[in-house]
């Protein structure tokens, strides 16, 4: 791929790319650690993961700032414009995923001594969501539209798991109403994993826009807009 004639500009874009990859890697770790902390009732790991969120928050602020400066100084066009504006959106989704991992860790602290057991599908949901983030970032790095589409397809699997977990937990709640409070915590964890997968789907949609230049979000909206413009 050709490099920009302005070397400073090329370096600024590379710096943003590197910072985003580092942030995404940290978020992946947070998903994995939050799942392991919950499963193993590892309070220390939960606390460490909560602390890691500060680094993700900082990365969001710094990457946003670097993108704003590029918009102001360089007025990027075409693929550069798509890259910079989408990175600004991607860091928001990554930061939200990290917040959800923090939520899971906080529930881990609540459930440290609880009698309820974590639903067997929750570790699977966690693994799949982590894998989705990994694939989405690979798609971003490799500019791979097909891989990004794979991520979007995987979201359906996580949704299916969530609905199954939800039904199973409802049964448990009826069986053990005295543990309702704890079961609701477990249900929340499943919901947050499902939300993480949704945010990761956003990442994949952005990668497709960045690579191919077409916006696949909300197909019904796109269709209505096309009809309106004749």
């Amino acid at each position: 791929m050709n490099q920009h004639t302005a070397r400073d500009y090329e370096q600024e874009l590379q710096n943003i790319r590197g910072a985003l990859l580092e942030m995404a890697g940290r978020v992946e770790e947070m998903i994995a650690d939050s799942g392991r902390a919950l499963l193993e009732r590892d309070v220390n790991l939960a606390k460490q993961t909560i602390a890691t969120d500060q680094q993700v928050n900082r990365a969001e602020v710094e990457i946003d700032e670097a993108c704003l400066l590029i918009l102001a100084k360089r007025q990027p066009m075409a693929s550069d414009l798509r890259f910079v504006t989408l990175v600004m959106k991607m860091v928001t989704d990554l930061e939200r995923i990290a917040d959800l991992a923090v939520n899971i860790c906080e529930r881990t602290l609540d459930l440290a001594n609880a009698k309820v057991i974590v639903h067997a599908s929750i570790p699977t949901m966690s693994d799949r969501t982590q894998n989705m983030v990994h694939l989405a970032i690979e798609a971003f790095v490799e500019q791979d539209e097909a891989k990004a589409k794979e991520v979007i397809a995987l979201d359906d699997k996580v949704d299916e798991l969530y609905h199954q977990v939800f039904e199973d937990l409802l049964v448990q709640m009826h069986k053990e109403p005295e543990l309702l409070h704890d079961w609701i915590h477990v249900q929340s964890v499943a919901k947050w994993l499902e939300r993480m997968a949704d945010h990761t789907t956003n990442l994949a949609e952005m990668v497709i826009f960045m690579v191919a230049g077409h916006d696949i979000r909300h197909p019904h909206v796109q269709k209505a807009r096309a009809a309106e413009s004749g």
Binding site: Q3, H4, T5, Y9, Q75, A78, S79, R82
Partner: protein, 277 residues
């Protein structure tokens, strides 16, 4: 010597392949077909086929020497005024070949006005006479309605409020940005249908540039405007269509919003992202 354009026996084809260039002008002000241009032996345009929409701003971008200024100079037959310059192909204004021997180039230039890179008011003339210069040169009968024409043209060029009390002052007494708007007023005074602008803001400061861009916004409902610019952000701001030229070829023309976000051709992408050369 300028070479007369070739006559095509069969219907022309443009970027809209199903349209007959020779007979349909619906919404298209200019159509060019296989336009080639030379300075001596140096060919600077290669087979440019392009439709220019009526009452829109079309921006032409490209690196220095890509032929963009030559192209617009072909649109009002100014290219042929240069020694050893020639052009072939066909250029139609509302379906009429502008290189037809029956066409008077002076009258054509009344329909297709031009504003240049450097403001060029006539140095010895007053502001009023500068505005009326085009009418004088073309011996228009409207010269009698001078005051009304001066006021209208200066208002259209967003200069009236700044010069209404000094119409007899010399054009050169104005600032660079005002001089450029005076030149636009001069071009508008002859009531052209098309305004060609060759880097009209490149010698102006950002405020004067913003005034010209505002002006373009006001004028685009009434005139067909073709602007050559090196400033891609300006092209993105002021135009509805943008054409990218490279080494004398029209590489890509598209909706401005599309071209600057998702160009189809890699050469366009490389140019507008600064990955060129």
């Amino acid at each position: 010597m300028m070479q007369q354009p070739t006559t095509h026996a069969r219907p022309y084809r443009t970027a809209e392949p199903d349209r007959d260039m020779a007979t349909e002008t619906n919404g298209i002000k200019f159509r060019t077909k296989d336009v080639k241009a030379w300075y001596g032996d140096n060919q600077v345009l290669h087979d440019v086929c392009m439709g220019i929409e009526e009452k829109e701003v079309t921006a032409i971008i490209g690196p220095s020497g890509c032929g963009k200024s030559t192209f617009i100079r072909c649109l009002n037959r100014m290219h042929e005024m240069i020694t050893n310059a020639r052009v072939t192909g066909a250029i139609e204004l509302e379906g009429q070949d502008i290189y037809d021997p029956a066409i008077d180039p002076v009258l054509l230039r009344r329909r297709v006005g031009m504003v240049f890179q450097k403001p060029n008011p006539f140095p010895t003339m007053s502001i009023r006479d500068n505005v009326l210069a085009g009418l004088t040169l073309t011996r228009s009968k409207k010269r009698d309605q001078g005051d009304a024409i001066v006021e209208k043209a200066l208002k259209q060029a967003a200069l009236w409020d700044e010069v209404r009390d000094k119409l007899d002052a010399r054009g050169l007494s104005l600032s660079g940005g005002q001089q450029q708007r005076l030149c636009i007023a001069r071009a508008l005074a002859v009531e052209p249908e098309v305004l060609l602008m060759d880097e009209p803001c490149s010698a102006l400061d950002p405020i004067a540039t913003a005034r010209i861009e505002d002006l373009l916004h006001d004028l685009r409902d009434r005139y067909t405007i073709v602007i050559v610019t090196h400033n891609m952000q300006q092209a993105a701001r002021v135009s509805q269509k943008t054409a990218f030229f490279l080494q004398g070829e029209l590489v890509e023309v598209d909706e401005t919003n599309t071209l600057f976000t998702s160009p189809q051709d890699k050469r366009t992408e490389d140019y507008i992202t600064g990955k060129f050369g």
